[in-house]
């Protein structure tokens, strides 16, 4: 028999997770689609379900010296409207799904769902954001980049849930593009985020991440470090393209083919580098 657990508070939720292997239901915008059977029938689960979307203790946005803390049940709409959230996240979130979905869905659900097309992963990975994993035995932190390690693969133990996300604001100028087909259901075909900091024509920070072009969000610190310290006049577009080209390994699916995706990803990278050389990243 499948149990449906509706905890009254976080402590109760963690006690349940310690004893039962559960699906965690948050906003439901991924899980309800995945478990949908047909009109009038209940969604079909093959193990217990724990509902956390109503937990007030997980609904908050606050800021301290460590960063900006977003509780796991905080919805996109709250993030979009909060003065504490860096603009780059708002930009990315505004392009996710439709207003209705953004009223329901959460960023913790987007991370845990670990789709290569998960849009928030791109800025989270680029900006070194962390997840806090909490269980009855305590909590631990992990970079989002490590936490998601493949298609639907995350380093979550059965007794843990994501209790919060910690954003680390960076001093970067950003270039973001999401390429999809139709606004409201545009599952991303390719997304690109570049972040850069330039002082007196010298690159002080340089970061690139791609979504939907590999089993997880692409970011490579080795390549980034190579360009830190360079004068923008010595930045060679083809060198950057050649560095990233092998990391961009998209697949062909019903949305798009891999040649197209690779081409678009490289064109966006090129545009980013050209803008840097012309001194013009300002978004």
């Amino acid at each position: 028999m499948i149990n449906h657990f509706v905890p009254k508070n976080l402590k109760e939720a963690l006690t349940i997770l310690n004893k039962h292997d559960c699906y965690i239901m948050n906003g439901g915008t991924d899980l309800m689609v995945q478990k949908h059977v047909s009109t009038g029938l209940l969604p079909k689960f093959d193990k217990d379900v724990l509902y956390i979307n109503n937990l007030k203790e997980l609904d908050y946005i606050k800021k301290d010296e460590e960063g900006i803390h977003i509780g796991a049940s905080t919805r996109y709409v709250e993030i979009e409207n909060s003065p504490l959230i860096p603009n780059i996240y708002k930009r990315v979130i505004k392009e996710i799904a439709s207003p209705n979905i953004r009223n329901m869905a959460t960023i913790s659900g987007n991370i845990a769902n670990a789709s290569p097309a998960g849009d928030t992963l791109v800025p989270l990975v680029l900006n070194d954001a962390e997840v806090v994993l909490t269980s009855a035995n305590g909590e631990r932190k992990m970079k989002v980049d490590e936490f998601v390690y493949g298609v639907r693969k995350i380093h979550r133990e059965k007794n843990e849930l994501i209790s919060e996300i910690v954003l680390k604001p960076q001093e970067l100028s950003y270039f973001y593009r999401k390429v999809g087909s139709r606004k409201a259901e545009s599952i991303t075909k390719v997304s690109f985020l570049g972040g850069v900091k330039i002082e007196n024509k010298v690159i002080k920070d340089f970061r690139v991440s791609f979504g939907s072009v590999a089993i997880k969000t692409v970011r490579n610190r080795e390549i980034e470090n190579k360009y830190i310290g360079r004068n923008i006049n010595e930045l060679d577009i083809n060198e950057v393209i050649n560095d990233y080209a092998p990391l961009v390994t998209p697949i062909t699916d019903q949305r798009s083919n891999k040649e197209y995706r690779h081409k678009v990803a490289m064109n966006l990278l090129k545009k980013f580098v050209m803008d840097i050389k012309e001194g013009g990243i300002n978004e």
């Binding site: 449906h4 509706v6 239901m25 906003g27 439901g28 915008t29 309800m32 689609v33 478990k35 949908h36 047909s38 009109t39 009038g40 209940l42 969604p43 689960f45 379900v49 509902y51 979307n53 109503n54 709409v77 799904a97 439709s98 207003p99 209705n100 979905i101 009223n103 329901m104 606004k183 409201a184 259901e185």
Partner: protein
Amino acid sequence: MKISFILNKKNVEVDVSPSMRLLDVVRDVLGLTGTKEGCGEGECGACTVLVNDEPYNSCLTPIINVANKEVMTIEGFRETKSYRIIADAFASQGGSQCGFCTPGMILATYAVLKKNPHPSEEEARLALSGNLCRCTGYQAIVDAVMLAAKKGIEL
């Protein structure tokens, strides 16, 4: 499991699985069939209802997520002054043909105008981007939103 919420300004209690879709609770358990099911996957907006005055897709909402919250379906919204203004605008601009998308469109229109009483056409289109219509070609719907904005909905 017994779950209570407010539906169209009245307290209701249902005894169902917490996983049941809000859409099925409203239509099958409570018999209000104004809320429609199109895709069942979050992509068409036919199932739009207001939860604490914000539009949700009821086909993706497990009923427990609205426990103790205020849910408004098109049946409840019909009793408001905003409804009259929006519905008249849809009628005069030809924003409704077969009518299947209309309950969702009307609630989505209310939600846009509440956030942004004077949207540009572009903003109106973006705000309705999660609501599909197979009949009108959208321009008549956007015209209806602009007309309702001009008249001013009452909040």
